[in-house]
């Protein structure tokens, strides 16, 4: 009985896996971040996410992804700061409207865990990043979720008067959930 159930589950997974997931579902995707301002933890979010992906759960090594975030869609968690961060010292959205992540390798770590290596570009600066992520399948697709931290100074986010980490800390923790479908 259990054996039959497992077998049909495996078959189901196989048929689902046969299809490559290519579409990002922005309505069910989120990118949130937390940072510290003089010891106060603040929550922010990017609302506008888009991307192109090719992920076959059966062959994760072949995965490719380009995720783009419209930086002007930021909510810093601080009303007064939302108009400020579009400016030159922060994101300079006039010159660099998008942040881009390009996955170069997806390594299965066992179970539903993956390591996604890629290149993150913000404000014209690129860094190699390695993101731990989990993949949770659902009907019609699945979601990659994970958390990583970046240093804002690596991307010149917060220049001039804002360079000092005493007011806004260097480390930014980013939490993502990206749902992809067929």
């Amino acid at each position: 009985m259990i054996r039959t159930a497992l077998l049909s589950l495996a078959l189901l997974a196989n048929t689902a896996g046969a299809e490559v997931l290519t579409r990002l579902d922005p309505a069910n995707s989120r990118i949130d971040f937390t940072y510290k301002q003089m010891g106060v933890a603040l929550e922010g979010r990017f609302a506008a996410i888009s991307g192109r992906v090719a992920f076959d759960p059966a062959k994760p090594q072949t995965a490719r992804a380009t995720i783009e975030v419209k930086l002007a869609s930021v909510d810093t968690g601080l009303d007064e700061a939302n108009s400020e961060v579009a400016g030159k010292d922060w994101f300079n959205t006039a010159a660099f409207p998008l942040a881009r992540f390009e996955a170069t390798a997806v390594k299965p770590l066992g179970g539903n865990r993956y390591q996604v290596d890629g290149r993150l570009t913000i404000k014209g600066r690129s860094q190699n990043v390695s993101l731990p992520a989990t993949f949770t399948p659902d009907a019609g697709g699945g979601s990659f979720a994970g958390t990583f931290s970046l240093r804002r100074a690596d991307f010149a986010i917060g220049e001039g008067d804002w360079r000092d980490f005493n007011i806004v800390a260097n480390e930014i923790s980013v939490r993502f959930k990206l749902r992809i479908t067929r």
């Binding site: 010891g39 106060v40 008067d161 007011i167």
Partner: protein, 182 residues
């Protein structure tokens, strides 16, 4: 019969007097500054000072409960004595309500108050922009009421000293400044 305040009560009174004037002035000054790291820093300092004043007024009330203030002079009519008592009650209520309203406003604006950047105070309210704006109005109105009452308080103390020539002012002054003290 005791005719003067205890040294502890005198110290707390003047410590809070200096703290209230400074924190009030800082609050008025910082509000109209353009958004900058300095502004964020001053806001944090204002909040730290407010929490400190709240802790001071609590310790002051606790001390007062065990050490009742000296009686007012017999030369004052019963009505005047009741009026003086009422003003003191309202002053204490404002010293409690003002930091509380600031703390609640900060929570409603989505910014946890973290005392000296180390000790986070619980957020009693969730983030709510309309409520945050309302609490700003409450915080301001309470402060303007305090300003009016403090002016009346200083005026009354000076009237006692210069017109009535009683000891109502001098009994709240540090010991070495008093004449004929034993």
């Amino acid at each position: 019969m005791t005719t003067r305040y205890t040294d502890t009560a005198i110290s707390l009174h003047w410590l809070m007097a200096v703290g209230l004037v400074g924190t009030f002035a800082l609050g008025v000054y910082m509000h109209d500054l353009p958004f900058s790291p300095a502004k964020l820093q001053l806001y944090s300092w204002h909040k730290w000072a407010g929490v400190t004043l709240f802790a001071l007024v609590l310790s002051r009330l606790a001390w007062r409960a065990g050490h009742p203030p000296p009686a007012l002079p017999d030369t004052m009519t019963a009505t005047m004595q009741r009026a003086a008592g009422l003003v003191h009650v309202v002053l204490y209520l404002l010293m409690l309500a003002i930091p509380l309203s600031g703390w609640l406003m900060s929570s409603a604006k989505g910014v946890t108050t973290v005392w000296f950047g180390v000790l986070p105070l619980p957020d009693l309210l969730g983030k709510d922009k309309a409520l945050g704006d309302l609490l700003f109005g409450v915080h301001k109105a309470l402060n303007l009421t305090l300003l009016g009452l403090v002016i009346a308080h200083i005026g009354a103390a000076l009237k006692h000293h210069l017109v009535d020539r009683d000891d109502v002012l001098t009994r709240m002054l540090p010991r070495h400044k008093r004449q004929g003290d034993t």
